[in-house]
């Protein structure tokens, strides 16, 4: 695992995680922020060593290789710091840290 700097154990964490519709995930954070994500964008942003080169940080995943109808099959917590997604294309090695999820937030305020 290559964790860079952290925002500390006091950084925001998901308080409620829910499916909004077939292609959108919603997270309510401990600081009250509400995030919405397109699931395809999350698949494209997978941080695992297959999708991002571990040494150089260069993206190895070709977004056009992801099926249009990509969906998660399930997601679950990893320890107290990350979320793991399993996808309909069989991919499931990405651990999305809370910090990363927060950076990926697509709400109007964050973008």
């Amino acid at each position: 695992m290559s964790e860079e700097k952290s925002s500390g154990s006091t950084g925001p964490a998901p308080k409620n995680i829910k499916q909004i519709d077939p292609t959108k995930l919603g997270i309510t954070w401990t600081d009250g922020h509400e995030s919405i994500y397109a699931v395809r964008y999350l698949r494209e942003s997978c941080p695992c060593a297959h999708c991002i080169d571990e040494w150089t940080g260069v993206k190895r995943l070709d977004p056009s290789s992801i099926p249009d109808n990509i969906r998660p099959t399930k997601l679950h917590s990893v320890g107290l710091y990350a979320i793991q997604f399993s996808w309909t294309d069989g991919h499931d090695t990405g651990l999305y840290s809370h910090d990363l999820m927060r950076k990926l937030c697509q709400c109007l305020e964050c973008q």
Partner: protein, 364 residues
Amino acid sequence: MSDQDLQESIIAELKTVMDPDLHKDIVSLGFVKNMNVKDGDVKFQVELTTPACPVKEQLKTECETKVSAVKGVNSIEVEMTAVVRAAEHSQPILTNVKNIIAVASGKGGVGKSTVSVNLAMALQMSGAKVGLMDADIYGPSIPQMLGIPISPPKGGPDNKFFPHEQYGLKVVSAAFLSKEGQPLMLRGPMLGGIIQQFLQNVEWGDLDYLVIDLPPGTGDVQLTLTQRAPISGAVVVTTPQEVSLIDAEKGVRMFESVKVPLLGIVENMSYFVCDGCDKKHHIFKSGGGNALAEKFKIPFLTDIPLVDAVVEGGDKGVPIIMADPSSPATTAYTKLAGQVASQLSIIQADKNKPESSFELAWEG
């Protein structure tokens, strides 16, 4: 030969295929799945623990060669698959344990195991039900410090096993898994396997506190535990000198990055009280633990004096807290247990706690 008999000879043959990292055959490891034998046509899957297994092709070839050589086999089809072990996290583990305390240090030799033992004993003597997990796989020393002779743990149904008991503490340790004095020489996946067993297969019963004595550093065992065990909080042990503080800081940062709450810093071997003058001699400088705690805005739990009776107690298997109630070290450990317990209560009482364990199945 019937298909049934043929399948049995194939499995016998596959039992000679060894995983080079785990040092066990692929049948015993449970890697062989969905075997289908029909009129001499053989199909099965080999399920590895990681899709990035470096010996995947080698194992596949070995399976094919060995099975083809079995009399009665016409054709063979081996599919290599993988299930990443992190997925096991969502299984409920340690459900009867109310609080899990990880005791860590960046650096080795700072007295982490001594602190773990005496902290566990202090909590136990306060009337709590306490377990102690010696997760220092390479250098397990807890049994020695508690005077528990090395013997294999008592097994129960479903691969479960029972912890050893001493002074009212329940104890598991890798030391019980090997012969006395023999080293455990293991690679990463086996380490993870032992930790997983400690988490899933131990019949702890109801516990108020489980103290986990981590190995020094920020490696495999620490990550496995933080990913799979619902750790309530971590205590970082340091000694006062700079070389220890630098590593302790890394330990603190590791817990921060995996969001395990920090209960605080313990400074061990803080000072020596000489029997002639009652003066506190700060042999390894002073104030470092406190400064570290201030830097990260986490509690400084206590400082523990350097007392020769602590070492003697550890070597004899009677922790200082039992051997000498009047020792300044006993006073320090009792204070530590109180501080840890109250920090845990503060964390538990936090109404704005994040969702600590969830699983969501996607619909549509």
